[in-house]
């Protein structure tokens, strides 16, 4: 559904995205994980036709983003990082407007608006102006808007950024429901747990390049499924093992209070780059 070949984007002398290659299959939830400034949003902006690639190609639903942007636009739904809803319109009017932009028929617009507002739990707030909705409600409305015209592919740029844990879990629930419905989703995030919980496959980005790409389980297995850490001792490097028994055996010879835990994508990022993802 999505394919990039040597996709690159420069801003003056800054190479924001450098020869990125990946393919997303139909029905897959694919995550771009990386710290701020890694090139995730620039990649998503190129794939949604908001930015032209400097070089390389990208196709979405079989259409070239640079050569046939109109067909791409018909096929995609976008949930941007910024809450760019019309605050002077109500929740329902925002969806109505989006339906009109996509030439949906009046009866279909009305039915779809009701269906989606129920889906995101905002039916009771349908006539509330966006300016009176909370941040979490606005995020959910953005998701509803991105789905309004039944796109084959949905791009979500940091869909839970700035939300409290409860609101974040609610968004995750929505994305998991969409995942079960077979929709193709590309999401960017810098939240480790989000990528781990939601994504079938993850590409880890750093400084404009993809440095690793696989399923979360395979990425973690690549460095070791189990981590051995010394509690409160940052001078002793964490060690990786494939089994808990191996980790406990190794821990006997270390003179500190031990923590043995499952590895995370954060551990993968640290192993690959020597940096923390939220650094």
């Amino acid at each position: 559904m999505i394919e990039t070949i040597n996709l690159s984007r420069n801003f003056g002398s800054l190479a924001a995205v450098k020869s990125v290659n990946f393919a997303v299959n139909k029905g897959e939830v694919f995550g771009l994980l990386g710290p701020n400034g890694a090139g995730k949003t620039t990649t998503i902006r190129m794939l949604t036709t908001l930015l032209s690639p400097t070089s390389g190609t990208a196709t979405v639903s079989g259409h070239n983003v640079a050569g046939d942007p109109l067909s791409v636009k018909k096929a995609i739904g976008v949930v941007p990082q910024m809450l760019n809803l019309d605050i002077d319109l109500t929740a329902a009017e925002n969806l109505e407007y989006h339906g009109r932009l996509h030439r949906m028929k009046p009866a279909d617009r009305t039915a779809r608006t009701e269906e989606l507002l129920h889906f995101v739990g905002l039916w009771d707030r349908r006539d509330t102006h966006v300016e009176h909705l909370s941040g979490g409600m606005r995020r959910r409305l953005l998701i509803a808007r991105g789905l309004m015209h039944r796109p084959a592919v949905v791009f979500m740029d940091e869909p839970t950024v700035g939300l409290d844990p409860q609101a974040r879990r609610m968004i995750w629930g929505l994305i998991e429901t969409l995942k079960r419905s077979g929709i193709t989703i590309l999401l960017t995030t810098h939240y480790i747990e989000e990528a781990d919980v939601l994504c079938d496959r993850v590409a880890i980005m750093r400084a404009g390049s993809i440095i690793a790409m696989d399923t979360p389980q395979a990425l973690k297995a690549g460095v070791g499924r189990v981590v051995l850490e010394c509690l409160g001792r940052h001078d002793i490097p964490r060690q990786f093992f494939q089994t808990r028994e191996e980790a406990l055996d190794a821990g006997r010879s270390v003179g500190c209070d031990l923590v043995v835990r499952d590895s995370t994508l954060e551990d993968v990022f640290i192993q690959l780059t020597g940096e923390r993802i939220d650094a």
Binding site: D86, D88, L101
Partner: protein, 243 residues
């Protein structure tokens, strides 16, 4: 062309706050009317009529310009630089010419509405103007022309300061110099020629001629029409560059 959703949303916003729309449309033209028409111009005669009869067509053109250019350029500039609401449109299958047309039509409605309100105020004040269908066509053309200019300016501007500079160096001088409050032929020749470059000058001249019962000059009609086509083309091209 799928311009209607853009136009629909702007009209919906107007319908939601009609009093704010009415007040913002009327403040500046009424100030001009009170200051130059009823205040400074009281007792003055121009071309055998009152100054109010002379100045009202110019203020109508000015009002059509201000209420089309201002709201269109400001809202588009804010949606591009601040709220990013334009990105919803840019990732939808609405083409650049539809975006430009939808916005320009909004400007046309705003500009025409404010001019009509002012015309009612003028009529209530006892100002008699000869109104023909072409008088309203020129008002509509003026509003559409400057709304298109507003779209173009907003697409060019990289900051709110750019927009403010465009207003300071282009719109405000044109408001005062483009034959709005006086006849351009009263000025020295080089300055008169310079003023004839402004599209608003031709709107004022056309409206003033028709209001006095004279035939509109073909030259000004062609120039105003040419400016309208040029600004709309520019607006569409600049939106296309962004899409």
């Amino acid at each position: 062309m799928n311009f209607y959703p853009i136009f629909w949303k702007d009209l919906l916003l107007i319908r939601k706050k009609p009093w704010r729309f009415l007040a913002s449309s009327m403040v500046m033209p009424l100030l001009y009317l009170v200051t130059f028409g009823w205040g400074l111009g009281r007792g003055m005669n121009v071309n055998g009529g009152t100054y109010l009869e002379f100045v009202l067509p110019g203020i109508l053109a000015l009002s059509a310009m201000n209420n089309s250019f201002g709201p269109v350029s400001t809202s588009l500039n804010i949606s591009k630089l601040y709220t990013k609401t334009i990105e919803e449109v840019l990732v939808s299958p609405v083409g650049p010419w539809s975006i430009a047309l939808g916005r320009a039509l909004t400007g046309l409605v705003r500009g025409l509405f404010s001019a009509l309100m002012l015309l009612l105020v003028g009529a209530a004040s006892g100002v008699h103007l000869n109104l023909s269908p072409f008088f309203f066509v020129v008002l509509a053309l003026t509003a559409f022309c400057f709304a298109s200019m507003g779209v173009a300016a907003a697409m060019i501007a990289h900051s709110h300061e750019d927009m403010a500079n465009f207003n300071s160096f282009f719109i405000i001088p044109m408001s005062f110099l483009a034959g709005t409050f006086f006849s351009p032929d009263k000025l020295p020749q080089p300055l008169e020629s310079l003023i004839l470059v402004y599209p608003l000058t031709h709107s004022s001249l056309l409206l003033r001629e028709m209001a006095a019962g004279r035939e509109p000059t073909l030259g000004s009609t062609i120039i105003l029409f040419a400016y309208t086509v040029m600004f709309f083309y520019l607006a569409g091209r600049l939106v296309k560059r962004t899409v």
